[in-house]
């Protein structure tokens, strides 16, 4: 009898936990994973909510809306055709202009990340950017990359199937994975392979023959070089019967995508990737299957999967706290947001992100940034620490800047921007009247790794904390 009562009470525990306020530590953990940085007031207000209320709140705040105005040129597609008869000079000028637009585009996104009221939105757009990878190195058109970002934004919390279908016809993707040269009788397998390996099934869940047959189904998916819009070139499309994944038919590209979506493996593949993004480096196979089934049963509603992950017991398990390594964007945007740095031009942060290995809009290859421990090697760790050290040192050596002269060179503007970073330490420290314990808890996701006791206070103490190895964790 006693034993049965005990079992009953144990069974009740999670339910009780779900109904109780989550408390400071869980709130900090949730916010560390779903935003770039957690502030004291946010943590305290979330601490009063139950886990479910907190997660629903975060999801309710997400939106596709941006608060940073896009660059002025985003609606002007620059057709590469105009270069056909261009001189060498004109070509170079065009390339310079494109490079400048690329920098503006990165600046626009970083600015949005720094200022958005819904950091989770930007984190998910970045997640999809790293899933449905395209990059400026090959696409070469900042306009098309901007449009792709809008598409990822539109579906970031929508239905994965819609996202897959639309991104497969997205002009930047068509260029990135050579859709335009995939023609009947002369297939180019690039997209067909990556859609299976990286977007849906994962390595080992399809055959080389599946790739070949799928490539035939995607023939004709092209872009109009004048407008930069998607264009289906019917004469280039292979109308024959294709056999893949155990099915035969006159499949077109959309039919192949539907075949891929019908595979249970697709849900598990995507959920595993989301798990590594928000929960821990090692997905739990049973939980992944459970959540993937919910995901598929709800027409691949991304919110359903994300909500389940953020409410999973594994998410709050002590061994999974501070178990993820911050990405360069997490580190840079998170630090600037955490300490409420006032900044001028964002160029220095774009350069820092690139140096740390995460040049947004230009992932290293179609597999994206591998993430996790791969973020940290000797070179990148030292660059991270140098970035953090300079951020706080610049503060101490800050001097009033002379007014900018019109027509300042990019280098001059960069130096100015680097000097134009301001941290109001007095205001910031007002949150921590209670002392060092709270400060440490907010700045670090776990206790400091350095064992030596510190007597430093104020900005010197902050410098110690951000240079502590634990600052690299979330």
């Amino acid at each position: 009898m006693l034993k049965r009562l005990f079992v009953f009470l144990i069974a009740l525990l999670p339910a009780l936990a779900a109904g109780a306020p989550m408390g400071f530590d869980e709130a900090r953990h949730l916010l560390n994973r779903t935003s770039f940085a957690a502030n004291v007031e946010d943590i305290e207000s979330f601490a009063k909510l139950t886990r479910a209320q907190a997660v629903d709140q975060l999801l309710a705040w997400t939106s596709g809306k941006m608060i940073t105005p896009p660059p002025a040129w985003v609606n002007e597609f620059e057709s590469p055709r105009r270069l056909r008869d261009a001189s060498e000079e004109e070509r170079k000028a065009f390339q310079r202009q494109q490079a400048e637009k690329g920098a503006e585009l990165r600046g626009w996104w970083i600015t949005e990340m720094l200022t958005t009221p819904s950091p989770l939105t930007e984190k998910m757009v970045l997640f999809w950017h790293n899933h449905f990878v395209s990059g400026l190195q090959k696409v070469r058109s900042p306009v098309l990359m901007y449009r792709q970002n809008q598409l990822l934004r539109k579906h970031a919390f929508g239905y994965f199937g819609d996202l897959l279908h639309e991104v497969s016809k997205d002009p930047a993707m068509v260029v990135y994975l050579d859709g335009a040269s995939n023609r009947k009788g002369k297939p180019n397998e690039n997209f067909a392979r990556e859609v299976m390996e990286l977007f849906t099934l994962g390595e080992g869940h399809y055959s080389e023959q599946d790739v070949k047959e799928a490539a035939r189904a995607f023939t004709g998916w092209s872009i109009d070089p004048d407008s930069g819009e998607y264009l289906f070139r019917r004469p280039a499309h292979d109308e024959g019967v294709k056999t893949l994944l155990g099915r035969s038919g006159n499949f077109d590209g959309d039919a192949v995508l539907d075949l891929l979506l019908a595979q249970a493996q697709t849900g598990e593949f995507v959920v595993s990737k989301l798990w590594r993004e928000v929960v821990s480096p090692q997905p739990d196979a049973t939980e992944v299957r459970r959540i993937a089934r919910m995901f598929r049963d709800n027409r691949y509603n991304i919110k359903v999967a994300l909500r389940a992950l953020l409410l999973a017991d594994a998410f709050y398990a002590p061994q999974n706290r501070a178990a993820l390594i911050k990405s360069p964007v997490d580190l840079i945007v998170g630090t600037l947001r955490q300490f409420r740095f006032e900044t001028g031009e964002v160029t220095p942060f774009l350069l820092a992100a690139r140096q740390l290995g995460q040049d947004v809009f230009a992932p290293p290859n179609v597999k994206g940034w591998p993430g996790g421990e791969a973020w940290i090697n000797s070179a990148s760790l030292l660059s991270r620490k140098q970035f953090l050290e300079r951020l706080f040192r610049a503060q101490e050596m800050r001097q009033p800047l002379p007014a900018a002269l019109p027509g300042a060179s990019p280098r001059e503007r960069l130096v100015r921007a680097a000097l134009d970073i301001h941290f109001d330490s007095e205001l910031w420290f007002k949150q921590f009247a209670q002392g060092d314990a709270l400060l440490t808890k907010v700045v670090l996701a776990t206790e400091p790794a350095a064992t030596a006791a510190s007597t430093a206070q104020g900005v010197p103490r902050l410098r110690e904390l951000v240079l502590d190895p634990a600052y690299q964790l979330k």
Partner: protein, 386 residues
């Protein structure tokens, strides 16, 4: 040396199989011999690098992008180098350049990521390993602790053959900056999970390497070409010149995934590669290390023999690579690309397993038993002078 001397498959095994394992000094590699791996990231098109210019089928398969017969730098009556590789010709004439053709592995994978993982971990096609092949070799025969590090990776964020926890591997891009910044790494602390433990280990490796590199710096007179690969070789040469000791260096050259417009891109890349290799040789000669340096190129796969419709080539299988050093016996090794025997995907059969090349470095260059690091016995190529 020419391909008649090449001991294919079982032939070479017969030569080495009688060697008892005892000839390998237990646990002590000859790490005064340096290995420099050069990754041609993206999958270099070997057929337009080492051109089978006498094979009519080559010109049939590549009507648009073939290297014309009168352009190739002839190595023998069948093979010639891409004209951009002109800087390598003095090495060839000096018999310091080995050209190995038809390198690959059974059941080739055509994905960049999976195939480079197979190369980096020296796994079988259907086997998933996490440690790099050099990491396993160093676990078996440790590099002296007095060395600055076991290995260094230049020009990439990926540790490749040096991946995995057991090795002291560094990524660095500029030695001076590295030594100056190293004060930011402490290495002291308690690891509470895998992520933190990884960070602390990197910090400790940095601290030790910086102490060694900083105390032994040498200024090189040799000049390096002014491009990313040139800078990477310069950094590599500076690490070697510091005399602190280093067993292996991996340099990465990116951009070889030429699905479209291959000609211009490859022309530039191969020129940079040749310039970089030649500059590295000059620097090693300057510090008296050329005879103890072995350079090898590698990448995930070769490219498909038939050109595609975009003036490029898709993912393929067997490939040609270069091995060079002061003690390399120059010449052609392996077998010419068998363009008449393509597989169902239109790809080449291989003749030399890439692990034979690794066994050459492990068994012959470092004198360590390759069988454990490579998960099996592979046959070293006979391309080193005593």
């Amino acid at each position: 040396m020419n391909r008649r001397d090449f001991l294919a498959g079982a032939g070479a095994a017969a030569v080495t199989a009688w060697l008892p394992d005892a000839v390998y000094a237990a646990g002590a590699g000859r790490y005064d011999n340096l290995l420099v791996l050069v990754e041609l990231k993206g999958g270099n098109d070997g057929l337009n690098t080492v051109v089978p210019y006498a094979d009519a089928e080559y010109y049939n398969l590549r009507p648009r992008i073939a290297v014309a017969r009168d352009q190739v730098l002839q190595l023998d009556a069948a093979a010639g180098l891409h004209p951009s590789l002109q800087p390598l010709m003095p090495l060839w004439q000096n018999r310091e350049l080995a050209v190995v053709q038809s390198i690959g592995y059974p059941a080739a994978n055509l994905s960049h990521f999976r195939s480079i993982e197979i190369w980096d971990t020296a796994s079988k096609s259907d086997q998933y390993l996490s440690d790099g092949w050099l990491t396993r070799a160093f676990a078996e025969a440790p590099v002296p602790r007095s060395f600055a590090a076991d290995g260094v990776v230049v020009g990439s964020n990926e540790m490749g053959p040096l991946a995995g926890g057991g090795t002291r591997a560094l990524a660095l891009n500029n030695t001076g900056d590295f030594v100056r910044q190293a004060r930011l790494a402490g290495g002291e602390g308690v690891a509470r999970n895998a992520a933190l433990s990884h960070i602390l280990k990197v910090e400790r490796d940095v601290t030790q390497a910086a102490a060694n590199l900083g105390n032994n710096s040498v200024t090189l007179r040799s000049e390096f070409p002014n491009h990313a690969l040139g800078n990477a070789f310069k950094t590599a040469a500076q690490v070697v010149a510091s005399k602190a000791g280093i067993a292996a260096i991996r340099v990465t050259h990116s951009g070889y995934d030429t699905h479209s417009g291959q000609q211009g891109t490859q022309q530039r890349l191969l020129k940079e590669l040749a310039e970089g290799l030649v500059a590295m040789r000059a620097a090693m000669q300057e510090i008296g290390r050329w005879d103890s340096t072995l350079m090898m190129t590698y990448c995930e796969f070769g490219r498909r023999p038939r050109e595609n419709q975009s003036g490029g080539t898709d993912h393929g299988t067997a490939n040609a690579h270069f091995v060079s050093g002061g003690r390399v016996r120059g010449g052609l090794y392996g077998l010419p690309p068998a363009l008449g025997r393509l597989d169902g995907n239109g790809n080449l059969p291989f003749a030399v397993d890439f692990r034979d090349l690794y066994a050459t470095a492990l068994d012959r260059w470092w004198g360590i038993n390759s069988a454990l690091a490579l998960n099996g016995r592979y046959t070293p190529l006979d391309l080193l002078r005593a």
